[in-house]
Amino acid sequence: MRSLEELKAIKEKAEKTISVRENTGAPTITVAMGTCGISNGAREVLNAVIEELNTRGLANIHVTQTGCPGLCHKEPIVTITVPGKNPYMYGKVTPENVKKIIVQHIVNNQPVTEWLVNLEE
């Protein structure tokens, strides 16, 4: 170990690996994985989420799953929760548009209103 900078570099890299275990108030992407969700392609959506986070090197994001939220006709459903803000629920998500959702909502902080679940529909 030559310098403090070297140690800091190791820390920064390693922090990303274990951030999933820290309760840091990171944004959470929740994929609904009930039977209906899975049969509508929630699994592929989840894979796309992970792929996109990997490509963009976004480590401080929690990805989790939940059961059926009861809106089976809107599946696959993805909910994005940014701490301190109301959760946003997206319906009929596909592997392609989930990538756009991540870029717009999480990176640029602009929810993609057109795909949000509208409960009054």
Binding site: M1, R2, S3, L4, L7, I10, K11, K13, A14, E15, K16, T17, I18, V20, R21, N23, A26, T28, V31, A32, M33, G34, T35, I38, R43, L46, N47, V49, I50, L53, N54, G57, L58, A59, H62, V63, T64, Q65, T66, G67
Partner: protein, 597 residues
Amino acid sequence: MEFYRSHVLVCAGTGCTSSDSQLVRRELLKQLAEKGLDKEIKVVETGCFGFCNLGPIMVVYPEGTFYCQVKPQDVNEIVEEHFIKGRPVQRLLYHEPDKETRTLEFDNIEFFRHQKRVALANCGHINPEVIEEYIARDGYFALARVLHEMTPQEVIDVIKKSGLRGRGGGGFPTGVKWEFASKSQGDQKYVVCNADEGDPGAFMDRSVLEGDPHAVLEAMAIAGYAIGANQGYIYVRAEYPIAVERLQTAIKQARELGLLGKNIFSKGFDFDIDIRLGAGAFVCGEETALLTSIEGRRGEPRPRPPFPAVAGLWGKPTIINNVETFANVPPIIRNGWEWFASMGTEKSKGTKVFALAGKINNTGLIEVPMGTTLRTIIYDIGGGIPKGKKFKAAQTGGPSGGCIPAELLDIEIDYDNLTAIGSMMGSGGLIVMDEDNCMVDIARFFLEFTQDESCGKCPPCRIGTKRMLEILTRITEGKGTPEDLTNLETLAKTIKNASLCGLGQTAPNPVLSTLRYFRHEYEAHIYDKKCPAGVCQALLTYKILAEKCRGCGLCARNCPTNAISGKVKEPYVIDVEKCIKCGACLEKCKFAAVIKE
């Protein structure tokens, strides 16, 4: 860097390994690979969570779902339900002993809620075999800070002001010890870590070594810088194979990254560490005995002064600190002495790790601020006494400590309070006893231990403990006389005053404290020839209650000495002359008609 959506932490401490956590981990890896989930879910081996009786333990992040007593055959359900469908497996969640509901996240479990983790902060959170995970949690930044910003004297001052005291037993102020060694003249000095955890019922040092070995290495290097030493030794019990292995891995990784070795952080500071294995001698936990053992000789203590800080290993100035003491050092440097001193009581700062065991619902490892009451530890964290039995005593300090009775449950635990009531902190074993434990028998048990482990160098300990053990054995056999109690007290005083080392000086404590708080039990053994708890075989008689006996004859058929006779469907009788008190009848009786008194 790979992003994993979920980390599954599987405990690989000794407790969980004994409950087959390795089989669970292998099954999990296999199933994740089969389902193609191995790229999104990472399985991490980690150190002890402290909740050993619920092992094997598994925690799923980011949710923090806490699964306990997971068996290999449960893995399929966890994978199918939790990882594929996102539904936690309810039946494997923890539930509080007295409640119906199950708790999902482990931060909400009572056992963890009252705790404050400093020394155990990383245990159960990082993979102890990956140095990067320790660094991610600010590991080695304390060492970086002392080398970049502090003089050795400043390091000593911080430790002194923090109020940190030795966690291994005596409670000597750590900073003062370091200062002595730093002021001693010597071309060569040493830092020694005492990991010869010998107190029965204490296993916190092993858990730190298994769960967070780098914390100890970092602290030893800091100590080396403070006193001017460049060589460290860790003296660890050979009975702790997992801990030894993790230490070896940790030392290797630290050397590879240049955090041990020559010219650390380019600051001209060299420090390296070697491991020395103990060979099964309790007395080697005593510092001077430990040093002679590292030197390769019989581990016998020697008189102090000179203290090791002046003349220690191979006659050179040496500091010896216990594992838990060292584990507190990096957090103190990182967070400042004020932070540490804000926890605890006036004279005992910080937190203390206790190993809860014996007759208690939640056995395991806990860390609480100094000054927490015994009641909080036993009832709120420990979940109380199993089977609705009554609390009788808590034993702290191992063979050097004493038994604390129910009247003192509200005492705030710190070094000085425990000493005042005739016990001691020791290394932090806390064993709970209920109404079924006989205190005379417990005192005899500890004396048997110290007598067996006495190294034999000084007569008060060698001969005195032998005599005490003989008297105690006599009392438990119903042959005690009233003079025995005064003789025990006289012997105890002599041994305390005249023994060479801590082992002998504290050996009478278990007897003195039980005599102080449970004298009536001794008297019952001596005068009434009865053991109130029903433990001491020689003082028991077995009896069949005529009104409960249905005359089935099962007891008679199981009696090895044909001491039970009677006619079918009529009450049976035990012949006390023939009875060898094996208890077979009591165990077999379906109607609770056999009693011992």
